[in-house]
């Protein structure tokens, strides 16, 4: 195309890409983050709108239908979902992107199987896109609790997975070599199966890393589709996809590495380790869990000098952050120093706790990273653990434990530990927690919101 509309489309894509980069940059600092996403949103809107001006485009009614249905569904779903379900929503919408990349590759491959390098790139885009959507859907099902979150381990899964991948790709290559489109069907089916098999053995606690990885993969699939489109008559859209996709692929890969590092694990270990699949046998646990009453905990905290609150997923599920804020305020009125210890992977995603506590209006300067606060625990009179489990499990210090080497919060070093917990069950990793059996630990059983509410009431009375 070589008319005025071609220049318009190109110019808009160039500006959109620039804004994407600046937006991503803005999103890596708390002060500018919100501005970043708003600008990127406007750029996206304009980029999509201008795409309709590409000459030679047809099927407008279908395109409009797809944009309205998909856009409406995504908008509505993302609006109504609870904040605690955000991690799985990221997984879903990322999966949709991967699916779209796979479907685009399918359309290109159906159009022509004799495009040389272009066809190869479409195949690669299809492989990664299909893996990404299938894997993301499994990640969603596990986080949503619609599927067992514990690793599901098939015997000989490594050779089986590899076999599925190789045979799947083989069908794709054969489809191209023989220019027979019918072989594309087993190609796509086997790759979807590969995405499922790859994600099944991964436990729920590792899902954030996996979602981040699939996010990076979707970016790469989008870039590969872009490469394939560049060679067609519609190069402009292709370049925009190459840049945005690669940007996300690189940024997402780095983010994945950072997340895995926060848990002291390698990506390979997350993907292939089937972490937490086997029950630990060696852990000798002495003593028993000792329950305590909310009123006693309130007294204990009211006369403390320093209280460290350790929030976890239980707080998020119970939506207890507002109550926690009240509790912290009341304690401070009584002259107690209150600090929050945030483990990098507390909750289901890095930063999950920071977001919830920020929502409740607790100021940033009371939130401390693991490295900043770990030396403080021996000075704390009370460590109040609210629905956190694996991130405070001292088993991480013991050789042979599946958690070995994972950086934890040294909660057990506090003079008194109170754990608010719904029942006697294990954490997300499915490993027994030694902390609960320690002499200085007391268990406050119940829903985090109710129990913290009781603490607030008791403190008001005293």
């Amino acid at each position: 195309m070589s008319a005025w509309n071609s220049d318009l489309v190109n110019a808009v894509y160039v500006v959109a890409i620039l804004v994407f980069i600046l937006g991503l940059k803005a999103m890596s600092s708390p002060e500018t983050a919100r501005r970043g996403i708003v600008f990127a949103g406007i750029a996206m809107l304009v980029a999509v709108a201008v795409t309709f001006f590409i000459s030679g485009l047809s099927n407008f009614a279908l395109i409009a239908l797809g944009v309205i249905v998909g856009g409406g569904l995504g908008f509505y779903w993302a609006r109504v979902v609870k904040m605690t379900a955000m991690p799985q929503m990221v997984a879903v919408f990322n999966g949709m992107g991967g699916g779209a990349a796979g479907a685009i590759a399918a359309v290109e491959l159906l159009g022509s199987l004799a495009g040389g390098a272009t066809t190869g790139l479409s195949l690669a885009g299809a492989v990664i896109g299909s893996t990404s959507i299938a894997g993301s859907v499994i990640a969603f099902l596990k986080l949503q609790g619609w599927m067992r979150s514990k690793p599901i381990v098939l015997p000989a899964r490594q050779p089986i997975n590899l076999g599925v991948l190789v045979v799947g790709v083989g069908f794709g290559v054969y489809a191209v070599a023989s220019t027979t489109t019918v072989f594309l069907l087993p190609f796509f089916l086997l790759l979807l199966l590969y995405g499922v098999l790859l994600t099944l053995p991964i436990g729920g606690a590792d899902m954030p890393v996996v979602i981040s990885l699939f996010n990076a993969l979707t970016g790469i699939a989008v870039a590969l589709d872009g490469f394939a489109l560049v060679n067609g008559p519609l190069g402009d859209a292709g370049y925009a996809m190459v840049i945005a996709g690669t940007l996300v692929g690189a940024a997402g890969s780095l983010l994945t590495i950072l997340m895995a590092r926060a848990m002291n694990r390698s990506i390979a270990n997350v993907l292939f380790g089937a972490f937490g699949a086997t029950e630990e046998t060696g852990g000798p646990i002495a003593g028993q869990m000792k329950p305590i009453d909310a009123a006693d905990v309130a007294v204990m905290m009211a006369y403390a000098n320093e209280v460290i609150i350790v929030p976890g997923y239980g707080m998020a599920v119970a939506q207890a952050q507002q109550r926690v804020k009240e509790l912290a305020d009341l304690l401070e009125q009584k002259g107690v120093t209150v600090k929050f210890a945030i483990h990098p992977v507390a909750g289901r995603m890095p930063g999950h706790m920071n977001v919830l506590l920020a929502e409740a209006g607790i100021s940033y300067d009371k939130l401390f990273d693991r490295d900043e606060i770990n030396d403080e625990f021996p000075n704390a009179d009370v460590a109040l653990v609210i629905g956190a489990n694996d991130v405070v499990n001292p088993a991480a210090r013991r050789a042979g434990s599946p958690l070995q080497g994972m950086p934890i919060l040294d909660v057990d070093k506090a003079r008194n530990v109170v754990v608010i917990k719904r029942g006697q069950g294990k954490g997300f990793a499915g490993i027994e927690n030694d902390l609960f059996y320690k002499d200085n630990t007391r268990m406050l059983y119940g829903d985090a919101q109710q129990e913290v509410g009781k603490l607030v009431q008791a403190l008001k009375r005293s």
Binding site: I21, G66, L73, L234, L255, L356, A358
Partner: protein, 101 residues
Amino acid sequence: MAADLWTALLIAILAAFTGYEVIGRVPVLLHTPLMSGSNFIHGIVLVGAIVALGFSTTDLERAIGLVAVIMGAMNVTGGYVVTERILAMFDRSKQRKGGAP
């Protein structure tokens, strides 16, 4: 390989470094919104989906193209709203903090 592909490859290399640099030293606090935000940005796949559907000629292509557009559009709107909702929380807390004496 056509000249366009070489150009695209060069562009991709530069984009990869840009993505790496931009994320550079990001605080843990922002990992989640950033993952969500980059999830939104690969929603640009919608543009490719529109092009793929727009140039489809057979019914099968159109059907798959429509699926691509629907999924791409979900990626865009869902990714945006999720990121916006997460980041809105930071904003509000900042206002409260600033408003307190």
